[in-house]
Symmetry: C2
Subunit: 203 residues, 2 copies
Amino acid sequence: MMILGLVKWMQPVHGYDVRRELLSWNADKWANVQPGSIYHALRKLTEEGLLRAVATEQVGGRPARTTYEVTPKGEDEFDGLLRGHWWQVEDTADPFAAAFSFLPAMPREEAAAALRNRAIQLRARVDWMRASLDSNWLRETKPVHVGWMFELWSARAEAEVAWCERIAERIEAGVSYLPAGLERAEGWSGWQERLPDRPFDAK
Amino acid sequence: MMILGLVKWMQPVHGYDVRRELLSWNADKWANVQPGSIYHALRKLTEEGLLRAVATEQVGGRPARTTYEVTPKGEDEFDGLLRGHWWQVEDTADPFAAAFSFLPAMPREEAAAALRNRAIQLRARVDWMRASLDSNWLRETKPVHVGWMFELWSARAEAEVAWCERIAERIEAGVSYLPAGLERAEGWSGWQERLPDRPFDAK
DNA sequence: AGCGTAATAGCCAAGTTTGACTAAACCGCG
DNA sequence: CGCGGTTTAGTCAAACTTGGCTATTACGCT
């Protein structure tokens, strides 16, 4: 719940402001906040006494908007949460890893092609972020640490590009997927490797 | 929904088998599957016609267990999902990035310390994974691509270690957080930097 | 002036996820 | 043999998330 944090540095705000700010950060992608959840979160935080509704104004016939502020209790809670995420490394869900764990279910050719494609997509992102870092737009209108986040993301992505290419080569080389010393042992029938049955299209 | 995939290569299985397999992979951490969601998923997939309940046996007075198999429709669906995740790079939620975006709310000293700490934690993970890669246990009992996943994770983590140290230095050096050219401009009052008010303990 | 599009503000029902809970049966061991 | 701990198998209510919906006003353009 880092909605709390946003309210804290924009207060007093109403829900729609928060939503706009989040969308302008593209935060729906890398934070865990889709616009739909904002209002629910605001109400829940208010119930818990972390926020306080300050005013409810109505402009014309539109939905009334409620403005919120952070309570002292809310500040403490936020500090605690923030510290937690800074000091503790959490392992985060990775849908690609999930898919990769089913490697044997992909025909070798396609797996290699997909990895190469992934490398290209990631490289494009890296290039885009590097370009942004050099741009005046970012340097002159965004806090510096936004750029630092870009650096983190591109560093990670660059490491992954190298990995994709390395693994693609191994797959093409025909390395066996089975554990060493079990090439023809029992108990791995479920891992029957998938042969290319129909051709695939690189999209 | 990669439960489907697991059922596919373990079939016929019952929920508890799936759960055990997932836990043995520590998949609750990096895939998006907590044990609690398995049974719901199985039922939903069955409703959708992707799975088929094969049998329901009762051993003693324990809860009856239902065994599932994948239908042809389910195989197709799985192939589709799998391809989707292989070919498409998704950006994944990153709680640390969310926390980092509130950098100005952390006292400089603590931010730097936390980053250094993070580097240490990540380094430990890398070391552990590297050691596993050299171990016979992994080489002889796990499919090779499990090791490849470890390589991916350590590559990413290593990149992040370097980043943490670099950024910690910049923070300690006192680099301003404000956009270039706005050092004393208006409109950033919310970004008032937080000064160290109380000491923190490195845990 | 008229009309289509975008922005404003928020609600909501339906779907998902989750941690905690049950309750019997098996295992080992003093 | 009894008894505490673990394993087996799964349920469930509560919390959370989400995409889509509403209805009004402002804006741009011809």
